[in-house]
Each structure stands twice: as structure tokens, then as C-alpha cells.
């Protein structure tokens, strides 16, 4: 039996089958978001180690990130090529899709001592914006439980200006570097990787 037959029966019954209501010529956020899962994991929770989990991040951060890839402000291996494939409306639809999904964490090998030191450094240098130990996503990405390889790439990109560092963050990172050196940055990554 075809869907047309069912549709007409439903019309006869006077029922609206409420599911899909997006513009007819645009894929839904779910349809678009599902295409990302091959690299970023089902519903945006990555199995790691280098592709970040993108579930649960704010729509603003998602849109900012995709837009900066799309217009070349942020460098990457492959995302600069992929982001150009979507309209601004499609990026917004994907942003809403992923922001509703839970950020699922996998256990990561980490050094407990470094993670403990990182927790203290986080409080001092990062907590003001990345609240709740990096669990909250108001000011940017979710750091708690993010993949460590990705975090190292991101920090390296900030340091080597492949990605623009927000002013407040640049100041804090400079202080951290001056006080603790690379070991401090490493400890932070172990702290975020240790969170479940």
C-alpha cells in the first residue's frame, strides 16, 4: 500500500498527523544532523578520540563555529570543506537539533594526579566562563568529558592562531602559561578528560 492511500484516508478522518512542519524545500534538522554522525557519533556524541562531541552545545556556539569554518576564519582539515555545503538556515536547523541532545561521555585514559592539578587550575583560570567545571556551555564548547585529543588540537589551534582566541580567554591562557607553563595546559586537558 502506498503512502498516498494512507494520507487520503487520514484526510478523510480529518486528522493532522503533526510530525513534519519544516519548509518543504529544506531538509529537517534531524535529516541534516544525521549526516554528521559518521564522524561525530550518533546524535553528536563522539566515540573519539579526535572528533569532538557536538551534542548539547548551544545553538549560538554551533552557528558561530560552522560560520567561522564556512567563511574561512577558523582553519581545519575537513570542516572548512564541509561547512560550505550548508545554508545559514540549514546550519541553524542543525544547531537546534544538536543542542537538544545529551552530551554522552566515554571513559578516557588520564593521569589522576594531573587531572587533580588541572581541577585546581580550572577553578583559578577558567571557571569564570566555563562554569561548573566546564560542564556548562554558555560561553563556548562543553569542556567536561570532551575528547582529550580534540582539546589538544583546539588549544594548539588557539596558540598557533589557526583559530581566533576570545580576548578574555587569551588573557587567562597567557597567565596560565606564565604561571605553570605547558604542564598547566596539559593538566587542564587531563582534568576535562577525567570527567564522566
Amino acid at each position: 500500500m502506498g503512502y498516498k492511500a494512507i494520507s487520503s484516508l487520514l484526510l478523510l478522518g480529518g486528522l493532522a498527523f503533526g510530525a513534519t512542519s519544516q519548509a518543504a524545500d529544506m531538509p529537517s534538522g534531524q535529516m541534516l544532523g544525521n549526516t554528521c554522525a559518521g564522524c561525530h557519533g550518533t546524535n553528536g556524541s563522539s566515540m573519539g578520540p579526535a572528533t569532538p562531541t557536538i551534542a548539547g552545545i548551544t545553538p549560538e556556539y554551533f552557528v558561530d563555529t560552522m560560520t567561522s569554518y564556512k567563511n574561512g576564519e577558523r582553519e581545519s582539515t575537513i570542516m572548512t570543506r564541509i561547512a560550505k555545503g550548508y545554508t545559514d538556515e540549514e546550519i541553524k536547523a542543525m544547531a537546534n537539533f544538536f543542542s537538544d541532545k545529551p552530551f554522552l561521555r566515554q571513559a578516557q585514559a588520564h593521569d589522576a594526579e594531573k587531572a587533580d592539578f588541572g581541577r585546581k587550575l580550572h577553578k583559578k583560570y577558567c571557571e569564570k566562563c566555563h562554569e561548573d567545571g566546564g560542564l556548562k556551555a554558555d560561553e563556548g564548547g562543553i569542556l567536561a568529558g570532551q575528547w582529550m585529543t580534540y582539546l589538544n588540537y583546539a588549544l594548539d589551534d588557539f596558540a598557533s592562531e589557526r583559530r581566533e582566541t576570545p580576548k578574555k580567554m587569551a588573557r587567562q591562557m597567557e597567565k596560565l602559561q606564565a604561571d605553570q607553563g605547558d604542564a598547566g595546559v596539559e593538566a587542564l586537558v587531563h582534568y576535562y578528560g577525567s570527567q564522566k
Binding site: 494512507i6 549526516t35 559518521g38
Partner: protein, 431 residues
């Protein structure tokens, strides 16, 4: 679409639903109790099964697959190179069972599009409202005269990962230093367009570290291949490509690379111009859609399945969808990522159709990594949409290859991203 009649409807949904509808409660007719039978548990079939269940747990999904587990073709070249174990590319169907998929270990022998039934070698007849056929490829052995399924036991194609991957790995291990490995590349179209060239790269990588006097020779019926510029740049960097001492040599069709016959006894391949002897020979023959697609009459003259790209419903038989390598989804390649992406479009369409909704606009992606040497990965990506002409079209200005001037850091990252991609796509498909 087949004609709707009352008898079919009773058969498909059970009389309770019909009774409900007759007395005017059409909400009973959701997709609850609707049956989807999926033929084949590779990337396309497994993804479709999982995503249908995720979208609508009222749909009964049965996946019929002859094997108890699946070895991914992607990353099998790392097994050949000794970089990973065969078990690391093996996946079971336990994850799908966890999503409520009924997994049946059997071989589908016939599909009746009129009766909407699938018949198995084990004697089962399964009825369906919608069928998804995802049989992957079948190998056209006689595209290389002298090659056959029997010969392939000792001269493996290893183009379906599993026991043949292990055989080929053992032969590479046993080969003395100074030996020649010959890879016979297939004509277009075929599964994993960069695959033969990544295979040459990773075998050379193994030989360079273990048997440095050895060589890899690629005999190709074609005059160009996927990611050619990036591969040859990597081969120059790692394997002396283009020099007298190159570990990799590629002979194009124009240069006599097309193999006209093979003699297994003397391990000799007869080319158009000269003959070639190999110590280890890997013949990747021509390909077409998996056998059941042909038996069920879903293929065109070229041996592949034409589909409506919005739903992946066969344009030959209504009610049957075809995804993955067996389908014609050009310009999407026959890749694992494409099969995964097509299966999601198909799953969404099937769920819409079973719920009496018009399928929504599709969106598709392909991402494909190849590892050329130590800390040196390359990729190609594309975003696709359905064009106004009803055909799949690559979004202009998006996608493309790793830039030719990519830094060492970025090439190194692409290897890590390739491994992350593997972790994620296999979990997205089977997890």
C-alpha cells in the same frame, strides 16, 4: 506504488487496525505493526535497521544476514599492513538487537515484489510492508580470464573483508624480501574508489619497514584514479615514486595495465603489452550489485540498481528500496560513509511512508579518508542535496580534497581523524 486493496491491507497490518479504521479511528494506523525486512547486514543495511528503530519503535524490523558478524572493508588495508588486528574490524549484530532489530542468520534467495515477501535458503517466508535491499557488491571473476571464486581462495581479492584479508596478510608476511606484490585494480564503477591505491600505499609502508627490497606493482585498466595527485605526492615522499628505485609502480590502461588473463599456476598476469609475475597477487575484479539484487530483478543492464534518490525506492519494483554499493546514487561514490548516509535518508523515507507522510527533503554526505604513510592521511568530502531535476547533486563550492599544500601537522591529524571516523561510523552503524 502497488494498488491498495482490502485483502492486502489485512495481510499487512492485521485486522484490528482495519477494524479501527473502518469505525473511524485512523490514529490506530500509525506505523505500529508495520514490517520492514532488510536484506544484508553491511553498513547500509545495519544503519537502516538502527535508524528506522530510532525514528519509530513501532516498526518491526527484521534484518536477514548470512554471517554472524561483519568485517568492515574500510581499515582492512591497515590489517594488511600489520597495523591493526582483523578482530578490530569485526562487528557483531548485538548492538542492533539492543535496538529491537530482529536479526535472522539466513540467506535471502528470492524477493516477491507483488506478494511482498522475502524467501530464505532456510525455508522462511517473511512478509514486509517495505523491503530494504543492501547486498553490497558481487565480484565479476571472469572480468580477469583465469580468475574464479575458487582461485580467489589462494589468490585473494580481499575486497570483502574477512578470511581473505587474513590470507593476503599471511602471504605478505611469508613473502621474501625482494618480492613483488601485484595489485590488479578494477574498472569503474567499484566499491571504495581510493581503496586499491591506499592498499598499495599501506602494503608499501609495511614492506619499507620490513622487506625494503620489495615492490608493489599496480596494474590498472584505468588511466586515472581517485585522489591521484595526493596519492602520487605521498608516494614520492615515502616510497620514491617516479624514481628507478620506487617501491610503487602504477601501470595505467594506456601503458598496458589492463590484464587480459591470469595463470594461477605460474602466478603470471598477461597484460596488453607484456606479462607480469608476482610473488603475491591481489586481483580486484570488476563488480556489480550483490547477487540477490540481480536475482530479484532490481538491476539495470550494467548490473547496478536504479533508485529514486529521495527515498532509495527501486525504480523497477515498488516497495523495495536499495541502499549502499548496490544502488546507483551517483555522484555519491560506493563508500562506507555514502552507504551510511544513504541508509539514513532511506530509513527516514520508509518511516514517513509507513506513517502516511510525504518523505521530507533528503541531505547526504560523503567523507573518505586514506592513509598513505606514517602520519600522512588524506581525505575527500562532499555534501549533496536533491536537485530540482530529482537527481543527487554535489553542493557547489563545498567539499573536495585535502589541499595539496596541507602542512605536516594537518596531514598527521587526518590520520587521527581517519581513526576517529572509524570509531564513530562503526558505532553509528552497529552500536
Amino acid at each position: 506504488m502497488s494498488k491498495f486493496n482490502r485483502r492486502d491491507f489485512i495481510k499487512l497490518t492485521g485486522s484490528a487496525a482495519v477494524a479501527g479504521m473502518v469505525v473511524g479511528f485512523p490514529q490506530i494506523v500509525g506505523a505500529a505493526g508495520k514490517k520492514v525486512v532488510i536484506v544484508g547486514g553491511g553498513i547500509g543495511g545495519a544503519t537502516a535497521a538502527k535508524y528506522i528503530r530510532m525514528a519509530d519503535s513501532g516498526v518491526e524490523v527484521t534484518l536477514v544476514e548470512p554471517n554472524a558478524d561483519y568485517h568492515t572493508c574500510f581499515m582492512s588495508n591497515e590489517v594488511l599492513a600489520g597495523e591493526r588486528s582483523i578482530d578490530s574490524i569485526r562487528f557483531t549484530y548485538d548492538g542492533l538487537k539492543g535496538h529491537g532489530v530482529n536479526v535472522v542468520k539466513d540467506t535471502v534467495t528470492a524477493i516477491d515484489p507483488a506478494a511482498r515477501t522475502v524467501t530464505t535458503a532456510g525455508g522462511q517466508t517473511l512478509s514486509y510492508d517495505r523491503c530494504i535491499v543492501a547486498p553490497g557488491i558481487s565480484l565479476v571473476y571472469d572480468s580477469v580470464p583465469g580468475y574464479s571464486a575458487e582461485v580467489a581462495e589462494t589468490v585473494p581479492h580481499a575486497w570483502k573483508a574477512g578470511p581473505q584479508t587474513v590470507t593476503l596478510r599471511k602471504q605478505l608476511e611469508a613473502m621474501p624480501d625482494g618480492g613483488t606484490v601485484v595489485i590488479v585494480a578494477p574498472p569503474n564503477p567499484f566499491r571504495c574508489p581510493p581503496g586499491p591505491y591506499e592498499r598499495a600505499s599501506l602494503i608499501a609502508h609495511y614492506l619499507k619497514n620490513n622487506k625494503p627490497k620489495s615492490k608493489v606493482l599496480i596494474l590498472d585498466p584505468k588511466d586515472k584514479f581517485s585522489k591521484q595527485g595526493l596519492f602520487t605526492a605521498g608516494w614520492k615522499k615515502f616510497y620514491g615514486y617516479g624514481t628507478d628505485n620506487s617501491m610503487i609502480e602504477w601501470i595505467s590502461g594506456a601503458a598496458g595495465g589492463k590484464v587480459e588473463s591470469f595463470d594461477a599456476g605460474s602466478m603470471t598476469l598477461q597484460g596488453a603489452v607484456e606479462s607480469f609475475k608476482g610473488d603475491v597477487i591481489n586481483i580486484i575484479p570488476a563488480q556489480r550489485a550483490g547477487t540477490i539484487a540481480q536475482t530479484a530483478g532490481l538491476t539495470n543492464d550494467a548490473g547496478w540498481c536504479p533508485v529514486n534518490p529521495k527515498t532509495f525506492e527501486s525504480t523497477v519494483h515498488a516497495g523495495i528500496h536499495v541502499v549502499g554499493d548496490a544502488s546507483i546514487a551517483s555522484p555519491m561514490p560506493k563508500s562506507g560513509y555514502a552507504a551510511n548516509s544513504e541508509a539514513k535518508v532511506c530509513a527516514a523515507a520508509v518511516v514517513d511512508l509507513l506513517n502516511g507522510r510525504e518523505p521530507g527533503q533528503p541531505s547526504y554526505v560523503n567523507t573518505c579518508y586514506s592513509i598513505v604513510g606514517k602520519d600522512h592521511g588524506i581525505s575527500v568530502a562532499a555534501v549533496y542535496r536533491l536537485g530540482d531535476d530529482g537527481k543527487i547533486a554535489s553542493v557547489e563550492g563545498a567539499g573536495g580534497l585535502t589541499p595539496g599544500d596541507a602542512s605536516a601537522e594537518m596531514l598527521k591529524r587526518e590520520v587521527t581523524f581517519a581513526h576517529s571516523w572509524f570509531q564513530n561510523i562503526t558505532h553509528d552503524t552497529f552500536g
